[in-house]
């Protein structure tokens, strides 16, 4: 999709499957794991 919009190097964070069937606690764990990557890409110090 990034390539289609002309940004082939667009950086994004991936979260492992599954997601839809997770409990609230498991979702929080996934978010906690992904958050440092999100803030790094957004340039948050």
């Amino acid at each position: 999709m990034a390539g289609v919009y002309g940004f082939p190097g667009f950086e994004f964070v991936t979260v492992p499957h599954p997601v839809a069937s997770l409990s609230e606690e498991q979702i929080r764990t996934r978010v906690a794991a992904a958050l440092p990557e999100v803030t790094r890409i957004l340039g948050v110090e």
Binding site: V4, Y5, A20
Partner: protein, 374 residues
């Protein structure tokens, strides 16, 4: 296989076989494969002069946009649709059917909104009605969902090849289907109007019997129904209900289907005095499940965001405020959620259910085929 065996099988060309260099033909086929302009099967090489024969089948301008996918910044033109119909192996005279099919997908609405990129992995499904069936040799009788008929095979294939080549919906890339379906290769049938006791599908939506038309649906798969055991219309209809409402296909509040009745089954209902509308009404009234049954498979509540079914204790579950009270839950939102057509040979109690991804009560997308210019 020996040359003698080939001859016995009728696999040896006669004096009328074209005198071409097979190595050059193979080189062209491999070139197209190497370019990725394929669904995995060999495609037909297309020259400008061959393309012109397709474009001569319509008065539309080659640059006219047939269907756009704004989220991909890509558009399908008449010319691109013709190239892919030719690649798919269509004869030029099939092209008006292909164009009408794209018009139906545009009006149906899910295709321009990225449904073919989804993990669900849906396929295009076409139903053709009217005199064009006979004119171009579309099969509506025996083996209607099977192989062996060029018009059915290539018109259905043209849609999927276009998705790949014009919109870039290639597997593992912009097509993220988890498993997909064999229907993605091709799924195009004609209604067996001659052996049906009822009016043809397109006439249910305002067209005349002498019109030709294409109905297009986005579908998840095909289910074979073998029901030779009864001639009691209620039993037969309830057998269909059980398959239409299986829990595996029930992702939203209600479901939808295209019931493709074999002629024998259609006549069971007709002999009992049931119209198509009576059958739809019966299916609707009997399409329900107990709340306990839904709970047992974890589908007794809805997602707050997507409205998909999920277990009541899921963190995204809504309360049951959008589910009617009572111990039973309706699984079709209206009689019109089931589209009924007749197809296949009149030789056994076999029908099919095409598991559509909508519409759920709205009329299906039917487009009148514009004949080629005289």
């Amino acid at each position: 296989m020996t040359a003698h065996a080939d001859a016995e099988q009728g696999l040896v060309g006669g004096a009328d076989a074209p005198q071409v260099d097979p190595d050059e033909v193979l080189r062209a086929i491999e070139y197209y494969a190497d370019k990725g302009w394929t669904d995995g099967l060999p495609v037909v090489p297309v020259t400008e002069s061959y393309l012109d024969r397709f474009l001569a089948q319509t008065e539309r301008d080659p640059s006219e946009v047939v269907l756009a996918m704004p989220h991909l910044n890509r558009e399908l033109t008449v010319r691109l649709a013709a190239i892919n119909a030719a690649l798919a192996g269509c004869r030029p005279e099939y092209f008006p059917v292909v164009l009408a099919a794209w018009e139906s997908f545009k009006n149906e609405g899910m295709v321009p909104r990225a449904i073919w990129q989804s993990t669900t992995g849906t396929a295009p499904f076409l139903i053709v009605n009217g005199p064009i069936r006979e004119a171009i040799g579309l099969n509506s009788k025996g083996n209607v969902f099977g192989s062996g008929f060029r018009a059915n095979a290539t018109i259905g294939r043209a849609i999927r090849l276009t998705a790949i080549n014009a919109f870039g919906l290639r597997p593992h890339l912009l097509d993220q289907a988890t498993q997909g379906t064999p229907a993605k290769y091709s799924l195009c049938i004609a209604e067996n109007e001659e052996d049906s006791p009822w009016s043809p599908l397109h006439t249910d939506f305002g067209l005349a019997p002498a019109d030709s038309a294409v109905t297009a649906m986005v579908v998840r798969g095909f289910m074979h129904i073998e029901a030779r055991h009864t001639t009691v219309p209620e039993q037969l209809a309830l057998d269909f209900v059980g398959s239409i409402c299986r829990t595996g296909v029930l992702v939203h509040a209600t479901t939808s289907a295209c019931l493709v009745l074999g002629p024998e089954h259609a006549h069971v209902f007709d002999r009992a005095g049931w119209t198509k509308s009576d059958l739809r009404q019966f299916l609707y009234e009997n399409a329900w499940m107990s709340r306990a049954q839904l709970a047992s498979v974890g589908k007794d509540a809805f997602s707050r965001r997507t409205q998909w079914r999920l277990p009541k204790d899921h963190p995204d579950a809504l309360a049951e405020e959008n589910e009617p009270e009572g111990d039973t839950v309706r699984l079709l939102n209206s009689p019109e959620a089931v589209v009924i057509v007749v197809a296949g040979a009149n030789n056994a109690g076999v029908s099919g259910i095409v598991e559509s991804f909508g519409p759920r009560g709205e009329p299906p997308a039917v487009t009148k085929i514009t004949p080629a210019p005289a």
